[in-house]
Symmetry: C2
Subunit: 397 residues, 2 copies
């Protein structure tokens, strides 16, 4: 059985120090393994992947095809095409009633590039960033790549698996320059209430620090709409993406909204680190805000909601402990301590034995990571059912 | 008149230290200004841009369209699709007779991302990288972004505007971990001879350092073919790109060839910093090595050669000093000291007065930067002629 956790890295004195501290994106390793098993003829149910099962909405694909017929594919401005920055700005007006200058929008090569740029303009060596554990794995590694340091704050059901203003205050030190929160959160699917977000904004502002809010899963909330932090303050970094709600993972396109003061710094870093974004992806994304695309995205959202409502009670019935019903993203972060004290081995064993891929908690931090796994409900109900049947047979062996 | 060099950055104590050290990509600012003037109705001759004037070859565009008709656009492996890594590996066999495992190829989101990954796995804070001045501007800024430090070595006509093994040896210190060379070089268009490259490889190896060779302009050499450093050693990082020879700038796709030992480190950094590359660009690039595409690329190369042969003697006639005829890329790095001791103001003045965009030396380093400008010869001969006529009228005012 492969063990990605302890994947051997040949050591070489030439490797940068950061390499030892940056871990593989373990769920990516699991998915790669699952795909290899599938290619070898094994039937796999993938409940690990953080990628919509739906295709990119057809108006976006059509816009890309029209572009290929008519236009050159060229370098463009490092902060993104004017047309797309304006569309994004308009979207904040339409969706949230927020008046946002296109000049504060930076289009990025996926939200990963957006995070790197924000950390790049904020972090000097050993500056600290506060974030929740569990949280999105790449956050801490991008901080480390930029020579910052992460202060992970264990969070559990009592705060909805989220940071609070009080927790941030408790962990803020002289070295802290920023806090990052995600609402909805990957892996927990929980949101931060608008009232708590106001308190967080006030606290970080009182420290002259920077707040980064990951709104990548906006649009994918169930039973409520998420508010943007831009309804509270303009002195904030927002990270967003065309990948999830708009179904454009493989196109690699996201955006930042930055405080006015930081846009020039982000621009010069983007010029040097990326030159420009994918032209074809930007031309395609111009159709992302069309009414027809939104109608399709909202249709997909309803299906995710049904999938969530199918999976959630059944996981609880199987014995997974889920104290807070997640309200967003497409993940259920589940306490699996009834079955194992080593969720990493558990996930590997489930994959190898019954062909169900689940993401182990270790990918998302350290706090009770060995007692948690993350289920994705991106797949249709019949696939989820097959996965649950296999999991049940595994658990009842 | 705008002054990009001194573009004001609002200072904020929250900005990372690196921001003060990283400069705008000045030629990008010039091109943006030129486009704005054009949009305002002014006629502009763009001799600043480092982008092929030719369209992306049609087989590549066609492959993208077929992909959009048939396939989903999805996340993929962080090191690139297996199919594309194999095609790239095959290319080294076909073009250079080098046997290269696809496992040592990492596909990247442009060569910019490739450089960032290589610097990311090599540089701990304050580690030094030796590079030529003049050289590609982003190199030193990517080093700075990763908290390394650049040791710029002034180079001139006596070494063909290139580093030599002797120069590298002279500047190597206890803090040096790597040297980067480019052959052909941007901005000078000169190559490093295979014999000198052998000496460079030996020296860097003797220091247990790392050598990075930028081969982005391979295929764009005139009167000779460039050899790859992989014909000399496998203990080297090669940076390459689909942007220039293959005409895919706006698609954002490049690749690294890395020593075996470093591939796992590059993979985990790529997983965290990028997740994956553009799927549509990768599918399109599968057609980059088709005989029909290569035929088109070679046709373009002949046109570049004609454009070079048109521009080079005329620039000399106008009074620009060009001691070494450049043999590659599509640039002529020209000593303009007959006209100015401040090439930055000169370029701005030329742009504002006669609408000709040229890149000022300051973008490429400090050494005699104020006495140099870079001309691109990507445009057809009639456009080059118009630019030269305007430049002549400006100089004879």
């Amino acid at each position: 059985m492969p063990n990605f956790e302890n994947k051997k890295f040949l050591t070489d004195s030439r490797l940068a120090d950061r390499v030892a501290d940056i871990h593989s994106f373990i769920v990516v390793d699991f998915i790669t393994r699952a795909k290899a098993m599938e290619a070898a003829g094994k039937s796999i149910v993938n409940l690990a992947v953080g990628e919509p099962d739906f295709e990119t909405p057809s108006p976006i694909v059509k816009a890309a095809m029209e572009t290929l017929k008519v236009n050159s594919i060229r370098y463009g401005p490092s902060l993104g095409s004017d047309a797309l920055r304006e569309k994004i700005s308009d979207w904040y007006e339409t969706k949230y009633g927020v008046d946002l200058s296109p000049g504060r929008v930076a289009v990025t090569s996926g939200s990963s590039a957006g995070l790197l740029l924000v950390m790049g303009v904020l972090l000097s060596p050993k500056d600290e960033v506060i974030m929740a554990d569990p949280g999105y794995p790449c956050n801490r590694h991008i901080v480390r790549a930029m020579e910052g340091r992460t202060r992970s704050v264990p969070v559990g059901p009592n705060t909805g698996y989220q940071l609070t203003a009080d927790l941030i205050a408790e962990h803020w030190t002289d070295r802290t320059v920023a806090a990052i929160v995600a609402s909805p959160s990957n892996p927990t699917g929980t949101l931060i209430s608008h009232e708590e977000m106001k308190k967080i904004c006030s606290f970080v502002e009182s420290k002259s620090g920077s707040l980064i809010v990951d709104e990548i899963y906006h649009g994918l909330t169930f039973g409520l709409d998420a508010k943007t932090v831009l309804e509270i303050t303009q002195n904030v970094f927002v990270i967003n993406s065309f990948s999830k709600y708009f179904g454009m993972t493989g196109w690699r396109l996201g955006w930042i909204v930055a405080p006015e003061l930081f846009i020039n710094a982000i621009e010069k870093l983007a010029q040097n680190l990326y030159i420009s974004n994918s032209d074809i992806a930007q031309q395609a994304a111009l159709a992302a805000f069309d009414p027809k695309t939104i109608e399709m995205a909202e249709g997909n959202r309803k299906k995710y909601q049904q999938q969530r409502e199918f999976l959630l009670p059944r996981l609880k019935n199987l014995g997974f402990i889920i104290p807070i019903d997640p309200q967003g993203a497409f993940y259920i972060y589940s306490d699996c301590s009834a079955f194992t004290g080593d969720s990493y081995s558990f996930c590997l064993d489930v994959l190898e034995n019954v062909g169900v891929a689940i993401a182990p908690g270790i990918d998302f931090g350290n706090y009770r990571a060995k007692e948690h796994v993350r289920f994705s409900y991106t797949k249709p109900i019949n696939v989820l059912k097959e996965g649950l049947d296999r999991l049940e047979s595994y658990l009842k062996r």
